[in-house]
Structure formats: structure tokens, C-alpha cells
Symmetry: C2
Subunit: 378 residues, 2 copies
Amino acid sequence: MRILQIAPLWETVPPPAYGGTEAVVSVLTDELVRMGHDVTLAASGDSRTRAKLLSVYPRSLRRADDLTDRNPYDWSHIATALEHAREFDVIHNHTGELLMAMSNLVSTPMLTTTHCMTTHDTEFIWRRYRRAYNTISRWQQAHFGRVAPQARSMGHVYNAIDVETFPFEPAKSDDLLFLSRVAPEKGPQYAVEVAKRTGRRLIIAGKVDNYDRQFFEEVMRDLIDGEQIVFFGEADAAQKRELYARAMCLLMPITWDEPFGLVMPEAMACGTPVIAFNRGSVPEIIVHGRTGFIVDTAGEMADAVSEVRRIDPHACREHVREHFSPATMAANYVRVYERLVADTWRAHTAAASRTVSAAIIENGPAVADGHAIARTAS
Amino acid sequence: MRILQIAPLWETVPPPAYGGTEAVVSVLTDELVRMGHDVTLAASGDSRTRAKLLSVYPRSLRRADDLTDRNPYDWSHIATALEHAREFDVIHNHTGELLMAMSNLVSTPMLTTTHCMTTHDTEFIWRRYRRAYNTISRWQQAHFGRVAPQARSMGHVYNAIDVETFPFEPAKSDDLLFLSRVAPEKGPQYAVEVAKRTGRRLIIAGKVDNYDRQFFEEVMRDLIDGEQIVFFGEADAAQKRELYARAMCLLMPITWDEPFGLVMPEAMACGTPVIAFNRGSVPEIIVHGRTGFIVDTAGEMADAVSEVRRIDPHACREHVREHFSPATMAANYVRVYERLVADTWRAHTAAASRTVSAAIIENGPAVADGHAIARTAS
């Protein structure tokens, strides 16, 4: 198939550090190429991909600090992708709502993946969207069914990680790990509570965004003692893998409905169980009692920590291989693409056959210029 | 002609106070309807027009304070206009660069009017723009010729005002008038200098934007004494007309290249001469010695003030009627639309005739099914 993947221009594909969407796009694109598809990736010019690269700008906008207004570059990126749409069997939108708003201007089958949740304002676009979309977890389906009544849901396709780049380590330390943005909805304060209850060391790794700075200063600062509660700061790709591999388990005491949560398969790929609060996609990603535990409170999380040695690291990695590998994700997406292309072709031939039928009915059964036209209606 | 006018969603058409673009769109749209064209206006739902109104949102975004992110509404506005493009002979874009970025996604003849100057970032769109545009003064032509090498210039079409709504007043006071945003590039400090040199009273009418607040406090505040130098504040539509009508003359000591400057025809429509610095479009709008004076310094402006009683108020109003009336502007735009539509049709038939010629050459001269096909090539 001829496939156009459209990544956000904001971050390089793959991203050097943060950038969940761009990481998934990278894995998907390279896997589709490996499968033999003819793939083009619309992304920043400094992206690295096995596919052909379609780029209007040489750098990702995150690093283009010399620009005052980044919108024109983003608009050009989306417009250029749409101008090329007719050269593809299917176009896959990972960029969100601007492209969705413009989606009726092209007729190529289009899939939008719901990498982000909606806001009151972006729902203005979702309510009008009439093309196809997929969610990244079953949990997201109900929400998008509500906000996008005119769109066509293609079900959910789970995100994937490049399992082979995550080191498998069955021998674990005694330390707990919290790895995420240090933000109230990620629940680092509950991770500290679990550490206190179990008497274990906790490593907190993650960046503090500007809008989470107050939370960090007011809530977290005093909890971090550098002994039992250690703040690692932002971990790069290599450090992240090391932290996962040696941790006894990953704690994910989220207080919001995480739509997917890449850290769960990443930790499990290293053979590290995950203990998480039962929100959003969590029950779809963790197999309770087999790859981790799903709990409701910090007290239950502390209890689960004392059970976590019973989890087999091999089962964790195997679970990721089966459900969150590039091959699984790409195969699922190809199935979605094929349904979209087949349905578009059926609609096309149906329209053509309506035109022919109308002509036959208008002219009656006929033999014209030596070419017999069979009448399909009885 | 079937014409789609696309106004910014930011401000109501016509605007209650500021909004030069929306004022011009309003005048143009109503005049085209009066001429008998089939006109649709894409604008905010609270707009008032003689044309059909195409609207995705009930209010102008300037007044939608409950919205966090206005972009999705703007995207929908542009997308909806483009979705309807094929229902029109021509579409006229007054909204700037987002629609320009998307312009290759539709084939309807399109004209963009350069209501705003470009920035380093918006030039990214202009460089790629391949459709038609017109400027609002001859002065703008060189600039846009440079930044839009692939676009088709249709020359300049001057803005218009609804002359009949401006009261003609030949009996003038002795006061000078400055009517504009109170901003350094508009030169209110030079207007004060002219008032001091001539010993006349100066009325300063206009709003102070947030980013001009420092200029107002540091430069203007001490100059305003409430006696000789009077700060009127922001004038509404009725107050503006009263100020123009009774002023001896309008001072426009601009320090930037004003691309058009609606205040000049507005003042002249009231029979009020304009004395302006020689920047941007000024020499195209003022006839030196007949409807005002074009000068280079505050000293020359003060000298011109002593000559301004020689200007005939009737000549000022007549000049506006002839060059900046709705009828003149609309007739000029219709000429541009007709060239665009005719050229698009010619390109279409040329493409069709190439296809026919290719078929003839391939098949040779032929008589098929009793229909003779004349061979045009010798």
C-alpha cells in the first residue's frame, strides 16, 4: 500500500527525549516499510526514517527558537501533506485537529489517531469530523464516540514500543521507580506515600514543566530527602532504560484517566512489573497478578509492593512482545487501512453503478454500437 | 457572478469600532449585492450583510472571552469556506495566511487581498502561494512582488468607505485632529510638536493598546495638558465623524509605511484636508495642494497648517467619491474577478483541447459511429 504518515512538526521523529506521539509514529513508519509498504513520512526535516521524508521545514518547531510565530510553518506542513494526499491509498493523521478541520478538502481515505484527549475548544472540530479515527485504548472509545458523532470509529489500536531497544533484566534492586512528568495528575506524592509505608527507596525521574513548577515547590520539594526519596531529574533514553531495568517495580499512581501510558509497556519490556491506579487504559495494559497489580489507593499499592516479587519478569516482557510490539501495532493499522480503502472503493463503484443504472433506466434496455449492455435490474 | 467573500472570524462585519479589514469587506459585499451579483459572506454569525451569510460560529472571536483556544473555530471557518468553494465562480480571501496555505486544495479562482503587511514568519506562506492577490495600494506592490514570487499579482485596488455615512462640513473649527491608535509609528508626538509650533489646539483621539501603554506613559502623558493638547480617548463611529467634520485638518505624521490608511479618505469625505508625512500609500491618497499636503518633517507640517484654509472642502469630498467609493472599489474588484475566471476557463479549455489533440494524433483521422471528427492539426 502507498501510505502517508503525517507527524506533528513540533518534534523530531523519533524524538530525542519526550514526545510519545513522535515515538509511536517512528516505530509504526519503520515497521510498515519493513513489511514492504510504500511509506512516506511528513515530518520535520531533521527526522530519521526508513520511509521517504516529506518536509517543509528543516527543523522541528520545538527547537526553532528564532521563530516568533510557529503557526505558518505548521499550516504549510499540513497543507503540503494534504496536497500530496491523492498520491496515496491512505493517509494517517497523527497531528490532530487542524488537519481534521481540512479533511473534507481531499477524498483520499484518512485515519486520525487520538494521541491527545480533547478540550472544550478542540471538540468544535471533532463534532464536525466525518472521516475515520482510531483510539489508542478501548477506554478512549466511549469519550470519542460522544464528541465525534459524525466520524467513523475504527476501534482501538494500542501504541507500541521498539521492544528490542529495552534491556531485559530479571535481577532487580529493592528500589521503587516513579518515571513520568512530575505533575499532580501523575501522582508522585502517592508514590512517596508508598515508599514511606513500605520503607523502601523511591527514585523519582522526570521533568518538571513550567506549569507544574508550583506543585513541585509546594508539594514535592519537602518530600525529597535525597536518601529515601531521590529526585533524579529528567532521564534521557539510555538513563530511562537503566532505571527501568534495575527497579523492583514501576509505580503509576495516576489521578487522571491516562489514555495509554507508554511507560507501562516500557517498564514491562525490561521485565519490571507495574503497579498502577485503576484509571483510563490501565486495566487494558497491565494483566493484574501476571505483569503487575491494579489498585485503587496508596495503601493497596503498598500492599502490592510486598507481592511484586511473585511477578515473573519473563511474563512481563512476553506480554509486551505480544500486545505492544511494532509488528502487532503495524498489522492492526494495516487491517484498518485496508477496511478504509476497500470501503472507499466500494462507495466509488456503487456511485458509478448508480450512474450506469440511471442511464439504463433512462434509455431502456439497449444494444448500442454493437456493445450489449446487460440490464442488472429485473 | 457567484462570489464568496471570506472575512476574518475575529471581528463582526461590519465592526462596531476598530476593524479596517471588516469595514472594507462589509462595504464591498453590500455593493456587490447592489450590483446584482450572487454574493455569500463567510463571517461570524453576528455579522450584518445584504449577502447570504455562511457562518460556523454565532459570535466574533474578539468577543468570545469564554474560549480558551480560538484556533479551532478559525480553522473551521476557513475549512468551511473552502469546502463551499466549488459553488462559486470566484472566492475572495480577506483572512490572510491560513487560507492561503490551504489554497492549492481547491481549484476555484481565488483572490487574496493584502490587508496586512507580512512578517518573517508569514512570508513562509507567501513564498509558497501560487494563486492571485491584490494589494491595497501601489506602494505595497514592490514588497509583495518580492515576498510572493510564485503568486500572480492583480495590481492594486484601493479600499473604500461608505461616503454617504460621513457628514460633509465646509465650516471648520481652528483645531487640529490626530485620529489613530496612540502608537509611536503613528507619530502623535509630532502632532503635538505641530500644535506647539502653530499655537493651535490639538485633539488626540484613539485607543492605547496594551503594547503601546509604555509609550503613552513615558512620551505622551506629560504632553497632554487638557487645554492645548486634549486627549479624547477612543472615539466610536458617531464621535469619529463629528471630530473629522469640525477639525481644521487631520494630521498624519506617520513614521512607518502605512499600506493604506482609511482615516485619510474618512477625513476628506467630511471635507477635511489631510496633512501627512510622505510614507507608504500617502502620495496615492492625498492630492498635494488639492486635498491636503504631503510633507517630510514636523516643521513642514506646521507650515502646511497655515496654508490649509486654501484647500476646498468640496474638492476633498469629490476626490473620495471618485477614488475611494464603494462603487469604484467594487467595479475594480469585479474586473479582477472577471480576469481570474476567464483565465481559469481558458486554462481549462486549453487542457481539454490538448487531450482531444492527443487522442486525434494517436488514432489518426477517423469517422466513428457516424460522427466525423475533424482533425485540427495539418
